[in-house]
Each structure stands twice: as structure tokens, then as C-alpha cells.
Symmetry: C2
């Protein structure tokens, strides 16, 4: 864990190194993924079966390609009632938040008499990737599937690897609650290729979202353009800005909630109180030992954790903007004053009673957020990722007479005579 203070003589250099440190894997999987994609495109289902046998160690023709709806319903009905209520509450709140993101159409006539507008439509077919293994989270199913269904996606396809054929019933139950339409027992780059190109069994989709390992991420990147995708995702991160009046135990738990995700995760505390910084560091050390995720959390905190002491909390804000964190907690009495200074962050958690984890599950906003400083240019997953906009315009004779001559002049200046003629012919009649 790195300790810095803005009053250190080498602070600028050390902080710049922290900002620019790359935690993302450099694994060169591009060539393997190209091979997998080409095989699936050319050979379809037989390539899918072969890669599944190789990587997931089961035979799709024995385990079954699709997971049947009766299985999801059984998983849903078999849930512990408290857990089912928790999933239902989360789903309801996520749907309510995303419902408000639905964009409005426009259709107006301007002073030149030109009708101008934009119409939004849902993507027709969407796919979501849900990892198997450690990161098989029902909350990921809800966060990817619900915005798609709120948008109006007609066919929502989930793909998920089932190593040795096993699948997490919580994931199935979440898919049932979220309204997924199909689930396929396929993972890895081959699943992304199947969704992008379609195979004999699996019909193609138009957009693919959802988390995955380096192969999945690279497959999405390579197929970007063939299909739409959500943002390229990297390791998770949290920045907490906290004054000395917080309970150090609470802040330590917040930092660890990010560290326990993955050894590449990052947790950073800014505080204006040096002794509070020490107390949080001690509380982190104490709490780590009590976690079933201790090994991951310890690796992450040791390698990527940081505590930075500033003269006051406001001094932290431009530094936070340089980090453009995925998650930002503002734990103080007047979080709004700090929030007004935030320009680059995926999601912000205001005040002492808003731990980041509340947003991972039940608050409502999406937990799929831009990582690795991408909040400078990217947003969290939303209904807009599952919709697209068609612009439209309509001229009558008078409107075309008003604006047409300028189009003719510009088309001629650009050396495009058929453009000019298509307008000019309609001006002379």
C-alpha cells in the first residue's frame, strides 16, 4: 500500500506514477482470439462444440446446448425466500432507475419550414455474456439484462460457460427475474463469435454486453463493428474521499469491498486527517484477516492500495479527476460541495451512509461502469446501449427553396455534381 501526502516534496511525481500505472493485463491473446472467431464464423456449431470441450471440459451434445426455461424456473423457485426477495427488490429498483433513461423522440418544424426529428428504437436482438467461475454474479445478470428489457429488446440471449457442465442456480434465477429469453451453455471468445455471426443453433444478435476475461474482452473488441458492444472493461477501482469524522472501520470495509474483487483491483483513500489515515490503515489490516476473500484482498491492497493525505478535502478533488475513478465515495458532512467539483467519475456515492456496495446491488444505477480512467469519455451501461436513433427530415417545396441553394453551392464546392443536381432539379420546378 502506497502512502502519499500532498505536502511531500516528490508528490507530483509519485501521484503521476499512480495515475499512469497500468493494471490491465498485457496478455497477447489477440492471435488466439482471431483463430477462434474465424473457426466459429466458418464452422459454426461444430467449432463451438470443439472449443467447449477443450476449454470447459464438457460435451455440449451430452450436457445440452441450451439451458431450458424449466431449469431457470426451478432455480428461481428453489431460492431461499430472503434471497429471492433481495433479488426481486434489486430488479425492481434497477428497472425503475433505468426506466427514466428512456430517451424522448423529437419531431418539430423550424422557421424555414423544415420538419426535423429523431426517433429512438430498441435494438432487436441483444446478447449478454455472464462469466462462470469466480465472477458468476447474479447481480451482473440483473445489471446487463434489465436495461436491455427496459429498452424494449425483443430477444435477449444470455451465454455463460458451465465448466464441467455446472452452473450457479443464482445466475439462472436472476435471468428468470430479469426476463432473459434464451440461455446457452457456451462461454469464452467462441460465445462472443457465435453471438456476432450466428451459428446453426444460435441466431446472431446486434449488440453484446457483459463482463468477461481477457479472451472475451478481446473477442468483443475484434468484433466491434460487426456488432455493437459495451465499453472495454478493466480492473475495478474505488476512490474514497473522507474526513476524520468517519468511523475508520466503515471506510476500511469500503476500501476492501473493492480490493476483494481481484488482485488487480485498486482502492485509494484521500483524507485531510493524517491520524485518521493511520486508523483506517490499521482497520484494513485487521479486517482483511477476517475475510474469506483475504488472499485476493491482501494482494490487491498491497500492490494497488493507496492512502493520500491532503491539506483539506477540496484539495483532493482535482487529483480525483485525474484518476477518473469508476467509483467515488464522498464521506463527509457536505458531499454536494465536493461533488460539484467532480468532472470525471463513473458513479458517485454521497455522504457517510452510502457505501459503494449499495450501488453494486440494490440502489438502482448500473454497476457496469467505466474503469481505468475511461470515465473521461465513457458512461456506465444504460438503456441507451440497447437503443439507437434514426434522424429524419422533410422538406416541402418552400422549405427546399429556402435552404436548397446553400446545399447546391456546397456540393459544387466539394466537387460532387450529382449531389448538387439532386437538389437543383427540385428547385427549378
Amino acid at each position: 500500500m502506497l502512502k502519499l501526502s500532498t505536502s511531500d516534496p516528490g508528490f507530483d511525481r509519485d501521484f503521476a506514477a499512480l495515475v499512469n500505472a497500468r493494471r490491465e493485463s498485457d496478455a497477447d491473446v489477440a492471435r488466439d482470439v482471431r483463430t477462434i472467431i474465424a473457426s466459429v464464423r466458418d464452422e459454426g456449431d461444430s467449432a463451438i462444440a470443439a472449443f467447449t470441450k477443450k476449454f470447459d471440459h464438457h460435451d455440449l451434445n451430452e450436457t445440452g446446448w441450451r439451458i431450458e426455461k424449466t431449469d431457470w424456473i426451478a432455480a428461481y423457485e428453489g431460492l431461499d425466500p430472503a434471497l429471492r426477495d433481495a433479488l426481486e427488490l434489486a430488479a425492481t429498483r434497477i428497472a425503475a432507475y433505468h426506466e427514466k433513461q428512456k430517451p424522448a423522440d423529437s419531431d418539430t418544424i423550424d422557421s424555414a419550414g423544415v420538419r426535423l426529428g429523431a426517433r429512438w428504437n430498441a435494438i432487436q436482438h441483444a446478447g449478454i455474456y455472464i462469466p462462470g467461475g469466480r465472477a458468476a454474479y447474479p447481480s451482473s445478470v440483473l445489471m446487463n439484462a434489465i436495461p436491455a428489457k427496459v429498452a424494449g429488446v425483443e430477444r435477449l440471449v444470455m451465454v455463460t460457460p458451465t465448466p464441467k457442465g455446472e452452473i450457479n442456480p443464482l445466475v439462472l434465477a436472476a435471468a428468470h427475474i430479469a426476463g432473459v429469453d434464451e440461455i446457452w451453455r457456451v462461454g469464452g471468445a467462441q460465445a462472443i463469435a457465435a453471438l456476432a455471426y450466428g451459428t446453426g443453433r444460435i441466431a446472431a444478435v446486434d449488440v453484446i454486453t457483459g463482463p468477461g476475461n481477457a479472451w472475451v474482452a478481446e473477442a468483443k473488441r475484434q468484433l466491434y463493428g460487426v456488432v455493437g458492444i459495451d465499453m472495454v472493461a478493466g480492473p475495478s477501482e474505488i476512490v474514497v474521499v473522507a474526513d476524520g469524522r468517519n468511523d475508520p472501520e466503515w471506510i476500511a470495509a469500503d476500501l476492501l469491498s473493492q480490493s476483494e474483487h481481484d488482485p488487480t483491483s485498486q482502492s485509494i483513500l484521500f483524507t485531510d486527517n493524517a491520524s485518521f489515515a493511520e486508523r483506517v490503515a490499521d482497520a484494513v489490516d485487521l479486517q482483511i484477516g477476517q475475510l474469506s476473500t483475504a488472499r485476493v484482498a491482501r494482494d490487491s491492497w498491497d500492490a494497488n492500495g493507496a492512502i493520500i493525505v491532503t491539506a483539506d478535502l477540496m484539495e483532493a478533488m482535482p487529483l480525483v479527476d485525474r484518476l477518473a475513478p469508476e467509483h467515488l465515495e464522498l464521506a463527509c458532512d457536505d458531499p454536494q460541495a465536493l461533488f460539484d467539483r467532480v468532472r470525471h467519475a463513473g458513479s458517485v456515492f454521497l455522504g457517510r451512509h452510502t457505501p459503494e456496495a449499495i450501488g453494486d446491488y440494490v440502489a438502482g444505477p448500473n454497476h457496469v461502469l467505466p474503469t481505468g480512467r475511461r470515465a473521461r469519455f465513457a458512461s456506465g451501461l444504460s438503456v441507451l446501449d440497447f437503443m439507437k436513433r434514426t434522424s429524419f427530415l422533410q422538406c416541402d417545396e418552400a422549405a427546399l427553396a429556402a435552404i436548397g441553394p446553400a446545399a447546391v453551392a456546397l456540393a459544387e464546392a466539394e466537387g460532387l455534381p450529382a449531389h448538387a443536381r439532386s437538389v437543383a432539379l427540385r428547385l427549378t420546378k
Copy 2:
């Protein structure tokens, strides 16, 4: 040019072939582009100078790296007044249309007492790529730069190759009108890499948009994630749906306005009148001979043009959706009835007096639109491409008590104890 009729026995097969035909270059430029990107990242300005000498045949240290603002102003002031007025009208109308795209922030408190919201901010630094040579269009400058400036981008950087040092004064004038902040005499994949990573001279940006050749497109694709980019662009296309009461000369000009762009462009007419189809085909042949762009238009029309006769216009609409065209003209008396059936199209031009070219220049909607069937999942360039959204939430003790237990239950079920603890600690106090 392909002639089809929905009454042909082989229509389904022939139309499917048309839908699936790939007009995009398969040039394998990925390796070259990887090399260029790595050189620029590692060596900065010296790599830029070397690639510019190699590809654009001039020495940046002699011609100058930046084009100075005095040069843009001179280009603007030297414009023919009619052309200046046309550019100004276009800029004003484009700005007015895009102004309405600015998204609203939200900030509400729900029934559980949870404050939930979203706040939009402009991207801070954006870059636009403007090609040199045949496609050096001032309209592209307006269509890329104005949405950025309407969004609130603080620093808008234009890069453009100047083969042998020459640049189109119309492009400079358009940059001046649109409010561009910097112009660099750099093009190709090396310009995209410079914008993404920054060099000694050129500071990095957060988002890059704008058209380009296969190298530029591949560089954007490879750097997607390091920066934000607009959609992957392919050859341009138009679909015209027209009844027999149109002037065949008008419709022929509309088809050719797409064909003249590039040999890979595509123009398709759907009509319910076979003799009108013949008259349009004849008019196309006649008009091509009169164009300064005849060679390109002829190649494109011969290779990729199509006329499809349907029983009635409504029969065309599901076929149009399968093509998901970049541009769609509906030239008939009641275009709204057809438009109501359109789901996948980049931009729609309604009625007999709305040639597509009016939208290329002065109508207001963006002319950067999804090509190659990408209207199934992508939208035209907009203010949203230059903004990003930060979600936020705030709980007080009561709100956390209402929704916190569900988060604890889900975190425990996912095996993430620090997540659970960060919420649970705040529930017991």
C-alpha cells in the same frame, strides 16, 4: 446494376445475397497499423515526422506542424461570399439541431428515501480526423466539430494530412466557423496514435471522431478503449423507395448522389412501378455521362446498384429493414405511413422534395451515420458522443436501513464478505 422483382421465383435467395454482400475492404492493414501505433507511442514527434515524410511526402519541420489560426482566418475571409453564407447557414442549422440533443440531468429522491441521479458532462479534449485528398470535405468538418462544441468540449483538435503540404482552404474556413481550437498537419494512423497517446507537441485527447481510410479506421479500432471513438465506418449507401409518380430524373440524381462518392458506395431503388424503374435506369445512364464524377459513379452503379420492383411500396419496408440503410428516401405522397414501418435506418428523408443531399449539408441532422447494416445497433454522430454521464446516489440512515439488508444478503450469496460488511456496519449503528 442488379434488377430484381419480388415476384421473381429466386427473389428470396437473390435479395439475401444483396443483403449479405460485403463491400468493405478486406485489406489486412492491422499489422502495419500496430507498428505505426507502437512507434508513435514510444518515439512521439520523431515518429510522426518520419511517417509524414514517408506517406505525405513533406517535412513537418519545414512545412510546419500546426496550421496557425491566422491561416484559417485568411481562408475564411478569402471565401467566395456565397460559399461563406452557405457554410454559415449550414453551421447555424447544424448547431440548432444538435443543441436539442443535449441530455437532461436528473436528481430525485424515491419512496425509500434514496437520492438517485445522473449528471452529464462534456468530454474535455476531443479530436477530429479530416481526410486529405478526394474526401477533404468542409461539410465533414462542420458535422464532426459542431456537435463537439455544442456538447461543451473545451479543446477541439483537428488533424488532417496535407499531401505535399497542400490543404483545402474550404476545410480551414469550415474549421474556423465550427470553432476548432487547434489544427495539426498530420494524417493517417500516426495522427490517430498521436491523439490517443499524446506526443511532445500534440497533447492527448479523450475521444476521436471523423472519417478516414482503412488505416485510420483500423487505428481507431485498435485504440478503442485508450480513447473513445465514433462508429466504425464503411462505404456509404442509399435506399430510395419511390412510386411511379416521381420524376425519374430526380430519383436518378438521388441514386447517383450516393454512387459518386466511391466505387464501393451502394444505391438501391425500390418501386412498385416496373415502367418507372426502366425510366429511372435510363435516366441514370444518361446523367452519369454528364458528371465530372462519372468514372466513380459508373463503377459504383454497375457493381453495387440495384432496382427492385415490389407489388406495392409497403412490401418494400421489411426488405428495407433487412438492409438497415445509412440513408433512406421515402418519395411518395404519404411517406409517414411508410416511415412508421421503418425500424433500422440511419437517417430518413420524407417526401418528394427531400433529396438526401439536403441532409449532407444544411438541413441540420448529422451526416455521419451508421453504414453496412450497422443501423441495426448504431446511431448517427451526436452531442452524446462528446458527453458522458456520471450516476450518483445518496442514502441517509433511514434509506440505508430500507434497502441495505437486501444488499447484505446478495453480497453474502456472491461470496463477497467485505461488500456485505461495508453495508452491515452502517446498519447496526
